[in-house]
Amino acid sequence: MEVNEVFEKVKNLFVEELGLDADKVTMDAKLEEDLEIDSLGIVEVVMAFEDEFGIEIDDEELTDVATVGQAVNLLHSKL
């Protein structure tokens, strides 16, 4: 799967799971500051990623994920 495709899927999940405005979900957007996702929200998104992509994400892998782009790259590297 191309990075672009991963991004589109991720964007859809953010919109569906958290009711975010699609325009706000850019590669550079910071999860906590720009998108105002709380810690439980991050968990919800991760669970949705795991279901959507059929993968498992360890907590350790998330420590460096602060932006949408970093999440997309992490998912891309695991597919």
Binding site: D38, L40, V43, E44, M47
Partner: protein, 242 residues
């Protein structure tokens, strides 16, 4: 209509809770060994105009839990209300308490509730609404001779519930503990009349409790109206701990 799962719903307190919730929820009656009793509870709810079905659920077995939830999700969409009621006793005083008996009681009463709660929470988070109730015991706060394992498991539920309440409050999910006192069930059937009289003497309300006394408060904690009550331990014990 929302869906409630009552583990250990075929007998005793669980049965009374299932019957009561049957008035306002689709009720899934979880049973592990008593299939016939579970079927009877389901029939009773359906006869009263409710919707119910039985599901086999062994809370010590993650596969059994997964199968049960998959079945429920197919039929009703998901579990909105979880009543963790399944519990066992294996009593003995500490010097005689076998490690297996300790482990079995903790595994069913405490770890089992962790497993079902974890499985149920995903749907509740998604729908931003959920009610979890743990059936503990006053023994969890007072201790009891011969029940170190049971008391520890029931005390553990309090920490579990309070933590979930803190974690999930922002998603409109509440988590509360009910601590029954002496209630007329199979679990207390061994008490002699003399022992019962001694217990009643310590109570403010001069009778042994009924399963319905527990079901009434559980039912309220599963409503929308109870949304501001979370992380609490409510003793329903005729005043024995007051």
């Amino acid at each position: 209509m929302k869906t409630a799962l009552v583990t250990g719903g075929s007998r005793g307190i669980g049965k009374a809770i299932a019957l009561q919730l049957g008035k306002s929820f689709n009720v899934v009656v979880g049973y592990s060994s008593s299939k016939d009793s579970g079927d009877k509870v389901v029939a009773e709810i359906i006869n009263s105009g409710g919707t119910a079905s039985p599901v086999e659920i062994d809370v010590t077995n993650i596969e059994s839990i997964e199968n049960a939830f998959t079945t429920i999700e197919k039929e009703y969409g998901g579990v909105d209300v979880l009543v963790n009621n399944a519990g066992i006793t294996k009593d003995n005083i500490l010097p005689r308490l076998k490690e297996d008996d300790w482990n079995d009681v903790i595994d069913t009463n405490l770890s089992g509730s962790y497993r079902t709660s974890q499985r149920a929470i995903k749907h509740m988070m998604k729908s931003k609404w959920g009610r979890i109730v743990y059936i503990s015991s006053i023994v969890g706060m007072m201790g009891n001779q011969g029940q170190a394992n049971y008391a520890a498991s029931k005390a553990g539920l309090i920490g579990l519930s309070k933590s979930i309440a803190k974690e999930m409050g922002s998603r409109n999910i509440t988590s509360n503990v009910i601590a029954p006192g002496y209630i007329e069930t199979d679990m207390t059937a061994f008490l002699t009349d003399e022992q019962k009289d001694n217990i009643i003497e310590q109570l403010s309300i001069k009778r042994i409790g009924k399963p319905e006394d527990i079901a009434n408060i559980v039912s309220f904690l599963c409503t929308d109206e109870s949304e501001y009550i979370t992380g609490q331990v409510i003793s329903v014990d005729g005043g024995i701990t007051s």
